[in-house]
Symmetry: C2
Subunit: 249 residues, 2 copies
């Protein structure tokens, strides 16, 4: 079933499709009277909607049923990634959204080749927000992940009670494999667990960056014995969170 | 450290770089006398090599040290995917190799829009083999995954003692979440576990295909509550295998 996000609560049962939803549902998907779609409102409820009228300018739908369906990871997860070249950020946001991330932060790492200047930043973020929205709709989530940028990893702060890990190649090479399991166990002990996970850019993190993160309370964690590309490691982490907290638990 | 695969055992300590390795190591990476790289031989041993001579036609290296480093998933894993449009097969092979898969099989599913005719097949497979090789080198594996194509899912057979799962969207929607955990537990009980995991193309698997797989002994498994794209689900599975069998165990 096609799903859309709507950023207001529904005032009454008759819903006039806003332009972007009209364009996709009526023009692209060719929905007609009687067809159904889902609408996620800011309260994270899902409304099953039925199209009641279609004309060239406008379309209306009504609420058939309201339900909530838990499709969010039980841990609020921030993925912070060093900037890499090319469209790696897009892949991280698209796949990371499907895998349940809540927040993406991109930062200029010591070894980042790419950078986003002020002008580029707004454009990049807007593009990534679109990708996150489409992926959230497609994967049937009830939350759209947010995207932000920071100039330095020093701005990454852990909230009280928030867990933090950093995927560090050197830790993986030395065979470190206990810390991810430990952190995930800690998460299960919390009522409303939060996790921030930091990943280097293509060139990795500098020892200086690792030190800054460790002072902030981040724990180095190995993600298995293979060396993953910068954009693969966050997906590994998110899949393991789902497995450990949604399937095993 | 740069890693290359070599498909023969080293006859003596002096190694003449074959053309493809020469091209990458000497021409692209600009290695010179004294520089080191790793060479994986068919016995899955890693040789630490030092360049001893470089000229315009040829280069030689010698073995400094031989070691084995376990970077392979403890379960031999086959990823069978329905053909999807675009370059999704490339993404599956690249990321799936980083995540430890041993074999990729692409098949024409009932709902596949794309297909590989005989002519296309050889070209596609050759391209995917190159991607698998590069990803295996980059992720420091000792095995290069194989790529094959089959015309129908009916050709997918489970070996004696091999476990089989099929990721089925309908199972996930119905909240099925016990089977993946069960299958992974079974794998840990085997001395040399093998798993084949089947994933539909973009349009999913047909009920007929699910029936064929279940008759062959495949078990339907949900991979969490979010609907993943065709190319994301195999990555989820491989990451959970690594987590459960390499980190938790």
């Amino acid at each position: 079933m096609q799903r859309y996000f709507y950023n207001e609560m529904l005032a009454n049962e008759q819903f006039v499709l806003p332009k972007d939803i009209y364009k996709h549902a009526i023009t692209v998907m060719r929905m007609r009277v009687g067809d159904k779609f889902e609408l996620v409102t800011p309260d994270k409820q899902v409304q099953l909607m039925e199209v009641t009228a279609v004309d060239k300018q406008q379309s209306r739908a009504k609420v058939i049923e309201t339900f909530s369906h838990q499709t969010e990871l039980p841990v609020v997860t921030t993925i912070a990634c060093g900037l890499s070249k090319g469209d790696k950020a897009e892949l991280i946001v698209q796949k990371g959204t499907e895998l349940g991330a809540d927040r993406f932060i991109f930062f200029k790492g010591d070894f980042s080749v790419a950078k986003w200047d002020d002008k580029k930043q707004a454009k990049k973020i807007a593009r990534l927000e679109k990708i996150a929205l489409a992926a959230a709709e497609q994967s049937h989530r009830t939350t759209i992940p947010t995207i932000s940028y920071c100039n330095s990893l020093k701005e990454l702060k852990l909230a009280t009670d928030e867990s933090g890990i950093v995927a560090y190649e050197e830790a993986a090479k030395q065979g470190e494999k206990a810390n991810l399991v430990k952190v995930i166990e800690q998460l299960t002990a919390h009522q409303a667990p939060h996790l921030t996970a930091v990943f280097g850019p293509e060139g990795g993190l500098s020892t200086n960056e690792i030190e800054i993160l460790m002072q902030e309370g981040f724990i180095q964690a190995g993600l298995g014995p293979r060396i993953m590309r910068a954009e693969t490691a966050p997906l590994y982490l998110l899949a393991t969170l789902s497995y450990a907290l949604e399937l095993v638990k």
